[in-house]
C-alpha cells in the first residue's frame, strides 16, 4: 500500500471539491486495500469466524484515512466508495465461482445437488447485483442504501449518516428496496 492516510484524505477533499480523478484514485486504493484485507483475512482461515464485511470496511477507513483531518462529508464519501468496492469484490468472486462450478461455458455440467448449498447464495449475490443495477436506474438512493447495508455492512444509522438522510428514511427505503429486489429477482428466475 503506497498511499498514506494523508494522501487519501487529500484525495477525499479534492473529490469533495469536484475533482473526479481524485474519486477514481480513491476507488482504486480502497479496492486494493479491501481486497488485500479480505485475502489476508482469508489466509488466517480462522474456523468459526466469518468474514465481516462491515469490519473490513471500518478497518479500511481507519487504515486509509487520517481521521483528524477529515470532514464529515469526506467520511461519507469514503464509506460510499468502500461499499461499492466491496460489492465489486464479492460479485466478481461469486461470478467466478459460478463459472468454475459449471466447468466452462461450452459444456455446462449439471451440478451435484448436494454440493450447492452455498452455491445458492452465490447465485443470489450475482442476481442481486444485476437487480441492484436496475433499481439504480429507477431510484439511485434506494440502490445505494442496499449497497451500503448489504455489501458495506453498515447499520441503518451509519447508512443514514453517510447519505445525510434520517434513519427513518433509510428504514422506509430499505423496506421497499428489498421488496422490489425480491420481486425483480423472482421474475428473472434467479
Amino acid at each position: 500500500m503506497t498511499s498514506s492516510p494523508h494522501q487519501i484524505t487529500q484525495l477525499l477533499k479534492a473529490w469533495s471539491n469536484g475533482d473526479q480523478s481524485a474519486r477514481d484514485q480513491v476507488m482504486l486504493v480502497v479496492y486494493e486495500e479491501l481486497r488485500r484485507m479480505a485475502h489476508q483475512h482469508m489466509r488466517k482461515e480462522r474456523p468459526g469466524h466469518t468474514l465481516q464485511t462491515s469490519a473490513l470496511v471500518h478497518e479500511a477507513y481507519v487504515r486509509l484515512v487520517d481521521q483528524n483531518a477529515v470532514e464529515w462529508q469526506n467520511r461519507a464519501h469514503f464509506y460510499g466508495i468502500a461499499a461499492q468496492m466491496m460489492r465489486r469484490i464479492l460479485v466478481d468472486h461469486a461470478r467466478a465461482r459460478q463459472y468454475a462450478k459449471r466447468g466452462g461455458d461450452a459444456h455446462p455440467v449439471s451440478l451435484d445437488e448436494s454440493a450447492i448449498v452455498s452455491a445458492e447464495r452465490t447465485a443470489e449475490v450475482v442476481a442481486l447485483d444485476e437487480a441492484l443495477a436496475c433499481l439504480a436506474a429507477v431510484d439511485q438512493r434506494k440502490s445505494q442504501i442496499v449497497e451500503l447495508r448489504f455489501f458495506g455492512g453498515l447499520s441503518i444509522e451509519e447508512t443514514a449518516a453517510v447519505l445525510a438522510v434520517s434513519a427513518g428514511t433509510v428504514m422506509r427505503d430499505w423496506t421497499l428496496a428489498k421488496a422490489w429486489l425480491r420481486r425483480e429477482m423472482r421474475a428473472t428466475g434467479k
Binding site: 469466524h49 466469518t50 468472486h93 467466478a96 465461482r97 421488496a179
Partner: protein, 886 residues
C-alpha cells in the same frame, strides 16, 4: 417508469403497510382511483415484501466468508476445463489436484493440474508464477517437464503438461528400495535439471519425491518449477513464513512429507536461493540411499528442530555406501549455505565422477576372480579417498595441496588460488549486464470517459515485470511510478523525477473488445522520442492480453538495446588479458586492506588501467584500493585520486555498481557526507544486488550510523554472496565488536584468523575484543601473535611482556600509548590508547589531529567502544558535531 410514478408507488407502498392487513385491499383500490396498473404494482411489491423478510436480512458476511474461502469441488470425468476434458484424477496434493485429461483440440493426453483458488487470487503472483514456470519449461531440458499451457478457465487457473507415464519417485521407492546405481542416476538427473534451471535464475524450492516423475525408460522429470513460490505466501509450509501455522495444519502426514525436505533457511523463513534446492536434493538422495529421511521427528515440529540442529546419522550406519558419496551428501546437507555446494553443477559433477569411478571398479570386478572380488569390494568402500584426491573442486584441491606441502610452494599456490578465484569472478562478472534505468508509467486513456484502471495499472505492471527480467534494465517499481497516473503528467518530467535514462509512456483506446496501445520510449536526457509503436490486442483474457503487450514491447527493446549493452559491457570488462589479470591481483591485494598491500594494489591497478584505459571496473577498483589506509602521502591526496578514478569509471560506464559503492566510501570516510553516502550505496545495490562489495560497504555505512542490526544483516548478505571474502568475514567480526557483541565478535574473528593466519587486522581486532570481554590473558596471546606477524623486534616484545606481567592489560595499553606518543604518528588507535588509560587531554589532542587529517575512522566516532571514556566530555560532543554536520 417516471420518477413521479415511482414516488407514487413508494408512498402507496408504505401507506398500505401501515394499514391493517384486512383493510389494505380497500385502501389501495380507493387510493389508486381506477389506475389498475398502479394498484397491481403496489400489490405485487407488498407480496414480495412478505417473502422478503428472510431476504438479504443480514449483510453479505456469510457469503463473503464462503466466497473468499474458495472451497472447491473435484472435477468429474467428462467435465471440461477450457478445451481439456477430464479423464481421471491422478493425484491430489497441497498444490491442487492433478487429472489425466484429453486435449480435444490436439487429440492428446495431458496432465492437468488445477491450482487452488486461494493461490491464484493475486493476479500479480500468478503472473510471476507463469513467467517462471514457462521459463523453466522453455529450457527444453530432458529432465524438466514440458508445460503445454498455463491458462484460466473462468476463475480457475490450471497448468497442463506433457503426460508422463510412470511413477512419482515417492511411489517408486515405496515399491522396492533403490540400488546405489539407480539412486545416483536419479540424483544426477535431478542435479542436471537444477543446474539448467538455476542458470536461468529459476529456483524450484520444493524438491521432494512427489515432484519427481520416473518414466519407464529411466528418464526422470522434475515437475512444478515455480509453484512453490506461488504457494509460499499463502501456504506457509513451503515459504515457511509462519512455521507454527504450518505445524498445526490438520493433515500431519502432508505437513511431515513437506517439512522433511525443507532447508534450514526455509524453516527459518529466510529467502531461498539455489542452495536451497541443493539441500533438498541432498535430503532426497540420503533417503534414496538409506531408505529413511535424514531429519525426522515424532511431529513436524520435531522434524524442524532436527533440520535446524541435528547432524544426520552417517549414511554408513544404514547402507554400504562409498565414503565419497557420504562426503557429497553431507556437503549438500550443510546447515550453512556457504558450506554447501554453491552450485548444482558442482554437485552434478561430483555425482558423475563418482559414478565413473564406481563403473570402473565394477568393470574391474567383472574381470576378476571371486577371490579378488573381495578385495575390490573393499576398494569400492575407499573410492572416496581416491576421488577426493582428484581436483573435483579446484579450490578445495589447492587448499588441500597447500596443507600437504607447507613449503615455499605456498606462495606460488596462493597466486594460483588468486587466479582460480579470479577466474570464477571473471566468469560470473562476464554475466553482469550493463543496465539502463527505465520507468514505466501507468497507461493513459485517450478518451477519458472510456477508461479502465485495471488496464492502466495492470499493463504497466506486466511491462515492469517483463523489463525487470531483462538484464539490460533497472526498472522502477510500480510503487514508484503509480503516482504518475495523472492525465496531465508530463512523461519526461516523471523521468527526471525518477532519475531514469528512459521513460516508457503509453496511451490506450478501448473499442469493441479491443485495446489499442501507442507506446513511446522517451530519452529523459534530451526529451526525444526514440521509439514509437502501436499494438492492438483483444481484451478477452486480461492476462493473455497483458502478456502479449509486454512481449511486443520486450522484443522491440531487446532489439534496440542488446547491441548497445554488449558494447558497454565490453567497457566494463576488458579484452586485454594482461589488464584483467592485474585487476584480479590488485583487487585481491586491495581487499587485504593494510597499508603495504594497499600500496601494491594501487600500483597493480594503475598498471591495469594503463594497459586498458577503457577498463571501467579497474578504474573503480583503483578508487577502492586508494581508499582504506592512505597508502599515499595524505588522505586528501588519496581521496582526490579516488574521486578521479571513480569519475573515469562512471564516464565509461554510468551504471557500474562498484563505482557507486566506492563513491559511498569516499563520501562517508572523507567527506563525512552521510546522506550522499547512503544514496550512493543504495544505488550500487540497486544496480547490482549481487555485488558483495556494495553490501559490504553499505554495512559499514550502517555501522557508522549505529544501525547495528541492519549492518550485520548486510554484511551477512555480502558474505553469502562472496563466502570466500576474508575481508567481509573480518568486517562481520569488527561490526560485532562495534555493536558491543564481544563474545560473538571473538568467535567470528577466531574463525577468520583460522582461515588466514596472516590476517593482520583480524588479529588486532580479536585481541581488542578479547580485552573488552575481560579476557586479558588471551587478548595478550593474540597481541603477541600480531606482533610476531609484524616482525616486531625482540626488545619491543619484551617490553610488552613486562608491562603485561606488571599490570595486566592496562599495562599493555599504557605501553602502547607511550610508544605511540614517541612515534609521532596520528591514528585513531593512539587516541583509543590514551582514552583507555585515562589520558583524556592527550586523547583529544590526538583526535583533533586525526580529524584534521580526515581519517576514515572518524565515521565511527559515535560507536567505537574504545572511546567510551571520552563520551561525557564536552569536547567529544563538539567533535561529533563537527564530523556529523560537515
Amino acid at each position: 417508469m417516471t420518477p413521479e410514478r415511482w414516488q407514487q408507488i413508494d408512498q402507496l407502498f408504505h401507506s398500505a403497510l401501515e394499514c391493517d392487513a384486512e383493510q389494505r385491499d380497500a385502501f389501495l383500490r380507493e387510493a389508486c382511483k381506477g389506475d389498475e396498473s398502479l394498484r397491481r404494482e403496489v400489490v405485487s411489491l407488498l407480496g414480495s415484501h412478505e417473502e422478503a423478510n428472510s431476504f438479504i436480512r443480514t449483510a453479505a458476511e456469510d457469503i463473503a466468508a464462503d466466497l473468499m474461502a474458495g472451497r472447491e469441488t473435484q472435477l468429474k470425468r467428462g467435465e471440461y476445463v477450457g478445451h481439456y476434458q477430464v479423464v481421471s484424477l491422478l493425484g491430489q496434493g497441497g498444490m491442487g489436484e492433478v487429472y489425466l485429461a484429453h486435449d480435444v483440440r490436439l487429440g492428446r493426453h495431458v496432465a492437468l493440474k488445477r491450482l487452488p483458488a486461494k493461490f491464484t487470487l493475486d493476479a500479480e503472483r500468478v503472473h510471476r508464477f507463469k513467467q517462471e514456470a514457462r521459463a523453466a519449461s522453455a529450457l527444453n531440458h530432458p529432465n524438466i517437464v514440458t508445460i503445454h499451457e498455463i491458462g484460466r478457465s473462468n476463475s480457475s487457473h490450471f497448468i497442463t503438461t506433457e503426460f508422463i507415464e510412470g511413477d512419482t519417485l515417492r511411489q517408486r521407492i515405496a515399491k522396492v528400495p533403490m540400488t546405489l546405481d539407480e539412486a545416483l542416476d536419479v540424483a544426477t538427473q535431478i542435479a542436471s535439471a537444477l543446474t539448467a534451471a538455476h542458470a536461468a535464475g529459476i529456483i524450484h524450492r520444493d524438491i521432494k519425491p512427489e515432484n519427481i516423475m520416473l518414466r519407464r525408460d529411466g528418464f526422470i522429470k522434475v515437475l512444478d518449477f515455480g509453484l512453490a513460490k506461488l504457494a509460499s505466501d499463502i501456504e506457509p509450509i513451503l515459504g515457511a513464513q509462519s512455521l507454527p501455522k504450518a505445524l498445526h495444519k490438520t493433515d500431519p502426514g502432508m505437513v511431515m512429507g513437506t517439512v522433511q525436505y525443507m532447508s534450514p533457511e526455509q524453516a527459518r523463513g529466510e529467502d531461498t536461493d539455489p542452495r536451497t534446492d541443493i539441500w533438498s536434493l541432498g535430503v532426497l538422495l540420503y533417503e534414496l540411499l538409506s531408505g529413511q529421511a535424514p531429519f525426522t521427528g515424532e511431529t513436524a515440529s520435531h522434524a524442524v528442530v532436527s533440520i535446524l540442529e541435528a547432524e544426520p546419522s552417517p549414511l554408513r550406519n544404514h547402507v554400504k555406501a562409498p565414503a565419497e558419496l557420504e562426503r557429497i551428501v553431507m556437503k549438500a546437507l550443510s546447515k550453512k549455505r556457504h558450506e554447501r555446494y554453491q552450485e548444482a553443477s558442482e554437485l552434478e559433477r561430483d555425482l558423475k565422477i563418482l559414478r565413473l569411478k564406481l563403473d570402473e571398479t565394477a568393470t574391474l570386478r567383472r574381470v576378476t576372480t571371486n577371490e579378488r572380488e573381495t578385495k575390490t569390494a573393499a576398494s569400492v568402500m575407499t573410492t572416496g579417498e581416491v576421488v577426493q584426491s582428484l581436483p573435483t573442486a579446484s579450490i578445495e584441491y589447492i587448499v588441500g595441496e597447500i596443507k600437504r606441502h607447507k613449503t615455499l610452494a605456498i606462495a606460488a599456490l596462493l597466486l594460483l588460488l588468486v587466479s582460480v578465484v579470479g577466474l570464477a569472478y571473471f566468469l560470473t562478472s562476464r554475466n553482469i549486464p550493463t543496465k539502463k534505468s527505465i520507468a514505466v508509467l501507468p497507461l493513459k486513456p485517450i478518451d477519458a470517459t472510456n477508461r479502465n484502471e485495471v488496464y492502466e495499472i495492470g499493463i504497466a505492471d506486466s511491462l515492469i515485470y517483463r523489463l525487470s527480467l531483462m538484464k539490460e534494465f533497472v526498472v522502477r517499481s510500480l510503487n514508484a511510478t503509480r503516482k504518475y497516473a495523472d492525465l496531465t503528467q508530463d512523461p519526461v518530467a516523471a523521468g527526471q523525477d525518477q532519475q531514469v535514462d528512459y521513460v516508457l509512456a503509453s496511451n490506450y483506446q478501448l473499442a469493441s473488445g479491443k485495446i489499442r496501445i501507442t507506446w513511446q520510449l522517451l530519452n529523459v536526457a534530451n526529451g526525444q522520442v526514440e521509439e514509437i509503436h502501436k499494438t492492438e490486442n483483444d481484451i478477452g483474457d486480461l492476462f493473455a492480453m497483458q502478456d502479449a503487450v509486454a512481449s511486443e514491447v520486450e522484443n522491440i527493446l531487446l532489439a534496440r538495446f542488446v547491441s548497445t549493452s554488449s558494447r558497454l559491457a565490453a567497457k566494463r570488462r576488458t579484452t586485454n588479458e594482461g589488464a584483467y589479470r592485474l585487476y584480479l591481483q590488485g583487487m585481491y591485494l586491495a581487499n587485504k586492506r593494510n597499508p603495504t598491500d594497499a600500496q601494491k594494489a594501487v600500483e597493480t591497478l594503475e598498471q591495469a588501467v594503463r594497459l586498458d584505459p577503457n577498463y571501467a571496473l579497474a578504474w573503480a577498483g583503483l578508487a577502492y584500493a586508494l581508499r582504506p589506509v592512505g597508502p599515499v602521502k595524505s588522505n586528501q591526496e588519496a581521496h582526490q585520486r579516488a574521486i578521479e578514478a571513480i569519475n573515469k569509471a562512471l564516464a565509461l560506464d554510468q551504471s557500474l555498481a562498484d563505482a557507486y559503492s566506492t563513491l559511498c566510501e569516499s563520501q562517508m570516510y572523507y567527506e563525512y557526507d552521510f546522506v550522499s553516502a547512503e544514496q550512493s550505496c543504495k544505488r550500487a545495490i540497486e544496480l547490482d544486488p549481487d555485488s558483495s562489495q556494495a553490501h559490504d560497504i553499505y554495512s559499514r555505512y550502517l555501522l557508522s550510523r549505529g544501525r547495528f542490526d541492519q549492518a550485520i544483516s548486510e554484511i551477512k548478505t555480502a558474505i553469502d554472496l562472496e563466502p570466500t571474502s576474508l575481508y567481509s568475514q573480518r568486517n562481520l567480526g569488527l561490526e560485532l565488536f562495534l555493536a558491543r557483541r564481544y563474545s560473538e565478535s571473538v568467535v567470528q574473528l577466531k574463525r577468520v584468523v583460522a582461515m588466514d593466519k596472516n590476517f593482520d587486522t583480524a588479529h588486532f581486532w580479536l585481541s581488542t575484543a578479547l580485552a573488552m570481554q575481560g579476557n586479558e590473558s588471551e587478548a595478550f596471546e593474540w597481541l603477541m601473535k600480531l606482533l610476531a606477524l609484524r616482525a616486531v623486534d625482540d626488545e619491543t616484545i619484551q617490553a610488552y611482556r613486562t608491562a603485561f606481567q606488571m599490570s595486566g592489560w592496562q599495562g599493555v595499553l599504557r605501553e602502547r600509548a607511550e610508544r605511540f606518543n614517541k612515534s609521532g604518528e596520528d591514528d585513531i588507535d593512539g587516541a583509543a590508547y590514551y582514552a583507555q588509560t585515562g589520558n583524556k587531554d592527550k586523547a583529544f589532542e590526538c583526535l583533533e589531529r586525526v580529524y584534521q587529517s580526515r581519517n576514515l575512522w572518524m565515521a565511527y566516532l559515535k560507536v567505537d567502544p574504545r572511546l567510551d571514556a571520552l563520551r561525557d566530555d564536552v569536547r567529544f560532543d563538539e567533535l561529533v558535531r563537527r564530523v556529523e554536520s560537515r
